[in-house]
């Protein structure tokens, strides 16, 4: 038993302490967070625009050109694996871009945008149609009703699934190692390629991911509670 502890201690030493390897994990975590954060922002922007485009209808009730464009975007992105999208972005579309993080942010942002679009569309549709009718009959324009009546209520609806999407996005960035970015997962692989032990680096990376996501979900839970404060009075 004691020797087992010593063995684990040695593995820990090799995986994290030796040659200041913990600095690698920190810089890897930095890349992971940077990519996830900016991709999330881009995803929300793209998603909101795509959701509003998809919801727009012509006067005769048929889908507008904007809505068709948004549908195609969502279909293509949801219909292809994100690894393939990342590789296409890296090796084909932006093949001369030397800023790897930028390529990853664009790739994940565009990917996330499609999912966010569907979440936001669902959130908007979940707001009772009577709200829109009330707004319109009070003399607000279509855009004003959307902006001041529907969207504020929709935000509360979409918060839980959006939080879920952020968590998925953060974990999905683990594939950027494919294109030589040194994110947290890649760093763990790099260390285990030096120590020839997979245990500590992988468990270490898993713990770090878990802690980050736990913090994220606590923050999201707080925000949710905050927005629900006025629900029951």
């Amino acid at each position: 038993m004691q020797s087992w502890f010593i063995h684990v201690g040695e593995m820990f030493q090799r995986a994290f302490i030796k040659e200041d390897r913990w600095k690698l994990y920190l810089s890897g975590l930095g890349v992971t967070l940077k990519v996830a954060f900016f991709a999330a922002i881009l995803g929300v922007i793209l998603g909101t625009v795509a959701a509003l485009m998809k919801l727009s209808v012509k006067k005769n009730g048929k889908p507008s050109v904007r809505s068709i464009i948004a549908t195609i975007y969502i279909d293509i992105i949801r219909g292809t694996p994100s690894v393939v999208q990342l590789l296409i972005m890296w090796f084909i579309i932006m093949k001369n871009c030397r800023n790897g993080v930028l390529v990853a942010v664009l790739s994940f942002g565009i990917n996330s945008g499609a999912y966010v679009a569907e979440i936001i569309r669902a959130g908007i549709l979940a707001v009772d149609h009577g709200q829109t009718e009330a707004g319109r009959s009070l003399g607000l324009s279509q855009a004003q009703t959307m902006m001041y009546i529907v969207i504020p209520q929709a935000i509360k609806n979409v918060l839980p699934p959006i939080g879920n999407e952020f968590i998925v996005l953060l974990k999905e960035t683990a594939i950027v190692g494919y294109v030589s970015l040194s994110d947290l997962t890649r760093v763990a692989n790099q260390v285990s390629s030096r120590t020839y032990e997979a245990f500590m680096p992988l468990i270490g990376a898993a713990v770090i991911y878990f802690v980050i996501i736990k913090i994220l979900s606590i923050l999201l839970g707080r925000l949710e509670r905050r927005l629900r404060k006025s629900d029951r009075r």
Binding site: F91, G100, G177, V179, S180, N189, Q190, S193, Y196
Partner: protein
Amino acid sequence: MKKSLVTLLAISMCAVLLAGCGAPKETASAPAADTTTDAAPAADTASDDSTTESTSGSAAISDGVLTVGTNAEFPPFEYVGDDGQPDGFDMALIKAIGEKMGVEVKIENMEFASLVSSIGNKIDVAIAGMTVTDERKEVVDFSDSYYDAVQFVIVPADSSIAAAEDLVGKTIGVQLGTTGDFLAQDIEGSTVSSYNKAVDAVNDLLNGRSDLVIVDKNPALVFAGMYPDDVVALDGAQFGFEVENYAIAMPKGDAELADAINNAIKELKADGTFDKLVAEYIEGSN
């Protein structure tokens, strides 16, 4: 009632999972205990083709199957052939070795960086143009070396890189976990971009994302041959890189297996098969 049924189902599924993974381990560990008491020299009996008896000495091949790990991204030593199966010099060599040892060779194609840590659990041995290094020797044993090589530097055709001091502060593309990766990390001020496949590193060199790629001699010549107008492959000797020895990696302390493999390599060298394979795969590709 329904709840307990679900629980039962979940437990039985876990049990199946555990049993499924546990079984091969058990069969592997049982003969391992035998080796200490009964040290039958596997090498002697290995050459006559009786698969059942010949390999009793080593735990790794007690079932008559030698599971070999490789990374088929390393031409001409290993690559995915036209039929979708790993092919190349190493593959032909290990199959010839398996024939001499009287075992069936099963190839597992995996990532290079995970080869060494997979020996003894997922694979029995690894042959992947792997250089003998002290770091690796701490974890696995190596067979006798079967090929000498040196790291090469691939640079764009118009690059001015020509000597060791030119490498300082450059962005270097490598394949993860290879000796080129280790060399690059030791170069002062370098930024190392590690890829799962060496050819991806070459692609990004062509895209202008890195300044050079460090990879073993023979793959470097193959890659440079694919883009003769855009890149050149430079001999690592002019950068002070040392000659490296390729060998087969195997579990630590399995002397019977080591003897069997080393004897097989010796026999193949003696009967001319080895030179034939070199001529067919390596010299034919340059």
